[in-house]
């Protein structure tokens, strides 16, 4: 192997940390533009939704288990269950679904 793993580690770590830290340290004032404020307001919901589906269905051994977990998770979160409860319920649903249908 020509390349050193520690140099690889240094390169990837510096790039990742710069991406995460630079905006936080450089943008120190409140953004004034109403459009940008609205944009930043919607980003968390949109990006988490994009990352959740269809990934949740592809993460499990059978897609049905992931789909059931998603439906159950949405229902519980809608009813006001906590972060931990929703998360744990999704795991239990997948385990049970795969036990019955696998």
């Amino acid at each position: 192997m020509k390349h050193d793993i520690y140099v690889y580690l240094l390169v990837m770590s510096c790039v990742t940390l710069a991406i995460r830290i630079l905006p936080l340290t450089l943008i120190r004032r409140q953004v004034k533009s109403r459009f940008l404020r609205s944009f930043l307001f919607y980003v968390p919901y949109v990006t988490l939704a994009v990352m959740t589906f269809p990934a949740i269905v592809e993460a499990t051994q059978i897609p049905l288990a992931g789909a059931l977990a998603m439906a159950g998770g949405i229902a519980l979160a809608w009813a006001g269950a906590s972060l931990f409860q929703v998360s744990a319920a999704c795991c239990v649903i997948v385990f049970a679904a795969e036990y019955f249908f696998c």
Binding site: K2, H3, Y8, L9, V11, M12, S13, V15, T16, L17, I19, R20, I21, L22, P23, L24, T25, I27, R28, R34, F35, R37, S38, L40, F41, Y42, V43, P44, Y45, V46, T47, L48, A49, V50, M51, T52, F53, P54, A55, I56, A59, T60, Q61, A65, M70, G73, A77, W78, A81, L83, F84, Q85, V86, S87, A89, C90, C91, V94, F95, E98
Partner: protein, 251 residues
């Protein structure tokens, strides 16, 4: 002189509460990370990493897709510039998240708090921080990081050591823990705000489509996430700009 210590004590009590909230919300994250880190460790092992190198990679990167892509490059003995470029593309979405969190900080928050919060601004910790009401207390992030970081880095190390020791059914069940958390973050605000609800539903639909359309599906998952996020959030912002006080309370 009498006011000083009690104000100080109130401040400390608030930080302590934020810290314990963070620890509490960090536990499901840490459990999910332990498992995802474990599977990542298997990829690291295949790329020739020792357990210690796997630990370092995860401790300083905290990025599943980014690390996975990096491990495949190490396995191919790719040039360093390619590693830098790949990490940049795979992790570019954190640039956007960092911008969002910059607006959650009090303007006079110290640079050190900004650096340490940025250090572990993962998808999940971003999610729970963005969902906090009002100004972000960095101690909330420190609480979550205190359990999430060891979960992630330790999980990777164990994955390098133990390989395929976990049964498939357990990995499968635990792999949805993080998605369950995302649902718990996005659904309650969607229930209260029609525009958020519409954006969430549209995000699910477009994300599903983008994985299947010819051109878009060839992009990496991270790049698709950025494209869709910018597109949908900009559309929502243009059509339904928030009222001036809204973002102080909601996201």
């Amino acid at each position: 002189m009498e006011k000083e210590p009690s104000a100080l004590r109130r401040g400390v009590a608030a930080h302590r509460r934020a810290l314990s909230d963070g620890l509490h919300d960090g536990i499901p994250i840490a459990l999910g990370y332990l498992v995802v880190g474990f599977t990542l460790g298997i990829a690291a092992k295949n790329a020739g990493f020792t357990p210690w190198q796997g630990f370092l990679a995860s401790f300083f990167n905290n990025a599943s897709a980014g690390e996975y892509a990096a491990f495949t490059l190490v396995a191919e003995d790719a040039p360093y510039w390619e590693m830098a470029l790949m990490t940049l593309v795979a992790n570019a979405r954190y640039l956007l998240m960092s911008c969002v969190i910059s607006q959650k900080f009090a303007p006079d928050a110290s640079i050190w708090h900004r650096i340490f919060v940025g250090f572990d601004l993962t998808d999940e910790i971003f999610g729970i921080s963005a969902a906090r009401r009002g100004t972000l207390d960095p101690y909330y992030n420190y609480g979550a990081m205190a359990v999430a970081l060891p979960g992630w880095a330790g999980g990777t190390m164990l994955g390098v050591i133990a390989g395929n020791a976990l049964p498939g059914a357990v990995v499968s069940a635990l792999s949805v823990a993080l998605y369950g958390m995302f649902l718990a973050i996005i659904i309650p605000p969607a229930k209260l705000d029609r525009v958020v609800l519409g954006s969430v539903v549209l995000s699910f639909a477009l994300s599903f489509l983008a994985g299947r359309l010819p051109l878009l599906s060839s992009l990496s998952g991270g790049t698709r996430t950025i494209l869709l996020t910018v597109l949908i959030a900009a559309g929502a912002a243009a059509l339904f700009p928030i009222r001036e006080t809204e973002d102080q309370h909601e996201a």
